[in-house]
């Protein structure tokens, strides 16, 4: 009897999970489906779900009009670069906060997070002027630095929570064995925190990949990543939804594939420390 209830509950839970999952995924699915329609089919009422003449024409048009590889390459460098740079800075910062906290550590953590509460447009002009002075406008280095700074509070917070889970005694033991600070972080702490670092890395690549305020406002022709590629297909005066969908699909495909293959790592990282 007990077993049957459990199984029924399991079935309900599974169905509910699938329903929620599909609901969340539906806009992406719809974008992908629309990218295979003609412009007329894309605005058809009632909407066409699966039964239409599938076409690759939109992809051909987008390929012909835009240099997709250049945008993709910029996205890879900017998302990857800002995340790696962020991790390099955040690991020592999170280490000090987790293992040698001061009276002010909690305040500093909160203060760092508070920088995320400011609307980005509020600092657009100061950052733009700094970029002009430093000659960083429309450069990948500039974007790497800005995105790193924007995501740094999140990286430090995530690493801090992972590091807090690691018993301080292990590090003490390493110190007693004569490990230097650098060795302690590099050879003792980091290997133990690999799952946490990996999920932080993945989450921040996704955040940086999707960032669409700074990447649009600080770039022009050379450093523009895939967000600018999508923006170039959006039009208030003309129905180009199928082409826009094709461009969006091409822009999210790499990160979608990365997310698919690393979902185990992502889920593990995100729920790390949630259950004690």
């Amino acid at each position: 009897m007990a077993r049957s209830i459990t199984q029924r509950r399991k079935a309900i839970n599974t169905a509910a999970a699938w329903a929620v999952g599909l609901l969340i995924f539906f806009p992406i699915l719809w974008t992908i489906l629309t990218s295979f329609k003609t412009e007329a089919q894309a605005i058809n009422d009632p909407p066409l779900f699966l039964f239409f003449d599938w076409t690759l024409e939109n992809y051909a048009v987008v390929q012909e009009r835009s240099d997709y590889m250049r945008f993709l390459w910029n996205s890879i460098i900017v998302a990857g670069g800002s995340t790696i740079l962020g991790i390099i800075i955040a690991v020592p910062a999170a280490w000090s906060m987790a293992f040698v906290p001061s009276n002010r550590t909690k305040d500093i953590l909160l203060w760092m997070l508070s920088t995320k509460m400011l609307p980005a447009v509020g600092v657009l002009y100061p950052i733009y002027l700094i970029f002009i002075r430093l000659g960083l406008l429309d450069s990948r280095i500039g974007l790497v630095v800005v995105l790193m700074l924007i995501n740094l509070p999140i990286i430090i917070w995530m690493l801090y929570t992972y590091f807090k889970e690691i018993p301080g005694e292990i590090l003490e033991a390493a110190r007693m064995d004569g490990a230097t600070l650098k060795e302690e972080i590099l050879y003792v702490l980091t290997p133990m925190a690999v799952p946490g670092i990996a999920s932080t890395l993945l989450l921040n690549i996704i955040l940086a990949w999707n960032e669409a305020f700074w990447t649009l406002n600080l770039t022009a022709a050379k450093a523009a990543p895939l967000t600018a590629f999508i923006a170039s297909y959006s039009s208030p005066e003309g129905l180009f939804y199928a082409k826009l969908s094709a461009a969006s699909t091409m822009a999210i495909a790499p990160i979608l594939i990365l997310g698919w293959f690393s979902q185990k790592q992502l889920v593990r990282g995100l729920t790390f420390g949630a259950v004690k």
Partner: protein
């Protein structure tokens, strides 16, 4: 001795002059509209003629506006040419942010630019951006539905006729709505339409002392007329409809009439996209007998930011893209229906173009809009569907939300106008008017 120095100086000078004529790469910011996409496809012709390369930065209209505004106000120098509209050009020209286009060569024939366009893109008589294409607004209507309703559309109808026709054409059971109008909030969305419409009803944004006029009878008449008409003959959810949504409805045969940008004519008559392509005709935007019609005037124009290092090549590009030759080039490659409209007088004198079904009405619409005298009563501002002051975009976006909410039935027209009056007064006082 002196001659030797003079020779060296002359040699250096000539070297400098030739080096300035070297091939450069210019960066152009533009929007994703059909005519601009065609221009990008034809850039090879410009490169072949001048040797200069072009890098395109294409962005969505609102993103573009924010992006180029940030760049020009900080002298960022990211773009050598910016695609801007009639709203920005006089304001930026006044601030000295744009390179004046007062030295265009004779063969460019600047006098050929339509006077309304030239006036709207100038400040103090100096042209600051060259029109790439221009548009007004007009009525696009279904000839079959008009006939079925037993009516005949005059070339220059009144709002009374349009409202009667819309109600007569409406057949909600079969999803046919007599009229589709913009309702989506935004200074370039519902406010462009409603500001232009208010001109025909004798309303205005400000009096000569910059006092807001939303408490006037004329504005109440405008808004009540619009909301009543849309409730009786408009599609459901109209408060979310902008240009694209209405275009989609019209192409699917759900609108009897649609009053919107003249550029839409090429979309609704294109049989590839439109199910009603062969049943569409055009008329001037309506009036109420007060000598002002409800049509707007807009141009997408190319301007050169004052900070650019490549002014010479940028000017060469503008001369190429807005020339008579460019129109011929597009006609050769894409046909006369696809040439950029509304910029040059000579285009409308061209017999090939006169055969295009919407050419005549587009020209008449453009000619009937006067950005310098947009309203019945005198006003201190320039602009038909906008007020060319920097504060307008912010204020009109808020007013647009109030009007959109009134259309959605969340408040009455009177409440919306009261709020519009209060917020406009407050913003204008804060801005020092």
């Amino acid at each position: 001795m002196y001659s030797k120095y003079a020779f060296r100086a002359a040699a250096t000078l000539s070297l400098l002059m030739t080096s300035s004529a070297f091939a450069e790469t210019i960066t152009i910011a533009t929007v994703n509209n059909g005519d601009m996409i065609r221009m990008q496809g034809l850039t090879d012709d410009f490169t072949a003629k001048t040797g200069h390369d072009v890098e395109w930065v294409t962005l969505e209209e609102n993103v573009l506006r924010q992006r180029v505004t940030t760049d020009i106000t900080t002298n960022g120098g990211q773009f050598d040419i910016m695609t801007i509209g009639m709203y920005e050009t006089p304001i930026w020209g006044k601030n000295g942010w744009l390179v004046p286009l007062n030295d265009l060569p004779a063969d460019y024939d600047v006098d050929d630019i339509l006077p309304a366009m030239r006036g709207g893109l100038s400040y103090d008589g100096t042209l600051y951006a060259a029109p790439f294409y221009g548009e007004s607004s007009m009525i696009m209507y279904r000839t079959d539905l008009m006939e079925k309703a037993g009516l005949e559309m005059p070339e220059a109808p009144t709002w009374e006729f349009v409202a009667n026709a819309a109600r007569a054409m409406t057949d909600k059971d079969n999803e046919i709505y007599g009229i589709c109008l913009r309702g989506k909030a935004g200074w370039g969305e519902n406010m462009a339409f409603l500001t232009a419409t208010s001109n025909a009803f004798g309303a205005r944004w400000f009096d000569d002392n910059w006092t807001a006029q939303f408490d006037s009878k004329e504005w109440a008449d405008t808004l009540n007329f619009y909301i009543d008409l849309m409730n009786d003959a408009g599609p459901p959810g109209a408060s979310n409809n902008g240009f694209n949504e209405n275009l989609s409805l019209f192409q699917q045969g759900k609108c009897g009439m649609w009053i919107d940008a003249t550029v839409a004519a090429s979309f609704v008559t294109n049989p590839d996209d439109s199910s009603v392509a062969d049943k569409v005709d055009f008329a001037l935007a309506p009036d109420t007998g007060l000598e002002r019609r409800s049509n707007w005037l807009w141009a997408w124009a190319l301007g050169i930011p004052a900070g650019t290092q490549k002014e010479g090549p940028a000017k060469e590009f503008i001369q190429w893209a807005t020339s008579k030759d460019y129109i011929e080039l597009v006609a050769e490659n894409e046909g006369w229906a696809n040439v950029p409209p509304g910029a040059r007088t000579s285009l409308y004198e061209n017999p090939n173009y006169q055969e295009v079904p919407f050419a005549e009405m587009t020209l008449k619409s453009i000619q009937s809009a006067d950005p310098l005298n947009p309203t019945v009563e005198p006003v201190p501002y320039v602009g038909v569907q906008f007020v060319a002051i920097p504060e307008f975009a912010g204020i009109a976006s808020q007013v647009g939300q109030e009007f959109s909410a009134a259309l959605a039935g969340q408040q009455t027209a009177e409440e919306a106008l009261e709020k519009a009056q209060a917020l406009t007064t407050e913003e204008m006082e804060a801005a020092g008017y």
